[in-house]
Subunit: 202 residues, 2 copies
């Protein structure tokens, strides 16, 4: 969009380009759609963004996004404290909650080990996980990191941490395509992979 | 995203789905990206949306989006009043401004004739266009509607309106692929098509 036309429109297009997968053309199409056909949608989106940015934080126990002091899963008395499912992101938790009837809790890493990018155990909060393993309340860790090189390396690292403390580790079954991302798998495959989890041999 | 996780996050995903081309998965990916990695981007987008929704309107002369009383093109003394380029949308104006050195003005329809959808001449503001033709200030109308069935029908309708008043009509040259949308054509093709415009025979 030539800035001769409307600086406010240009600014909106630039702001939309901060969204993942949105380039110049798509940003322009979105901006024009909102301003020409859905101004109510534009205002609603602005309000939702502001509210979420102001109120949503990370659960101090598991790292899930929540607007409460603790997330609904950690706060629930009905979720077993002894079962912990390790995932890379909040999106993975959403996918697992929809696909399975898992009744334990989660530990959200917010990524995977990636030494070249400076992401080590501490950046992922694995020191916090270590303290929880030390406390003795965990009897099984389900390793549900993505089946990528980095996800496998992260699973391996945690499995050794658990083994040193006599905690059982399981890995969700293959069935999730290698190299794929957990959140993009269909519910049936994911449910199957979760049910078919096995002891992890690292 | 299961609403058990975070109602605010759910609301943000729903609001993002009002954007064209954004479904549940993409909306979730965008929301998580903003909240986990780019909160500053979320606030900036909210501000840009509010500001644009509050201040951007349509130019009363040509229909272009603008935050001024009249758009920069209509307000410019350097753009010829006698040349009028008819387009379907603001995005088409942006594309033409980038690709050509056109020095006339525009008339933005905001769509095309589509009787089945209840979009007739009045819905497109063609009565306003008729009054401008009656005023005698227009010497040429460049028909730059999309080369689709509806775009051609709209061009045909306007060409008859112009012919009845002795105003010359030209159509941008083919080269824009048939069935395609003007705004998706590369600059070179669009520039070529614009330069090679011919008298319109309806
Ligand atoms: Zn939690
Ligand atoms: Zn104007």
């Amino acid at each position: 969009m030539s800035s001769a036309l409307s600086p406010q429109l240009d600014e909106l297009v630039e702001a939309l380009r901060r969204l993942p997968g949105v380039g110049a053309k798509t940003g322009q199409r979105m901006a024009l759609h909102l301003l020409q056909r859905d101004r109510d949608g534009a205002r609603r989106l602005a309000a939702a963004l502001t509210r979420a940015a102001d109120t949503v934080g990370e659960c101090p126990e598991c790292g899930l996004l929540t607007e409460q002091p603790r997330c609904g899963i950690c706060a629930s008395a009905e979720r077993e404290r002894s079962l912990l499912c390790l995932v890379e992101s909040t999106a993975d938790v959403a996918a697992l909650e929809q696909a399975t009837d898992y009744r334990g809790r989660y530990f959200v890493l917010g990524g995977h080990l990636s030494p070249l990018d400076g992401i080590g155990p501490e950046e992922l909060g694995l020191d916090r996980l270590e303290r929880r393993l030390d406390s003795g309340e965990i009897s099984e860790i389900i390793l549900a990191t993505n089946p990528t090189v980095e996800g496998e390396a992260t699973a391996h690292y945690v499995s050794e941490m658990a083994a040193a403390r006599g905690v059982r580790t399981t890995r969700i079954a293959h069935g999730v395509p290698m190299g794929g991302a957990l959140e993009q798998v269909d519910q049936g495959t994911l449910s199957h992979a979760f049910m078919g989890r096995r002891d992890y041999e690292g």
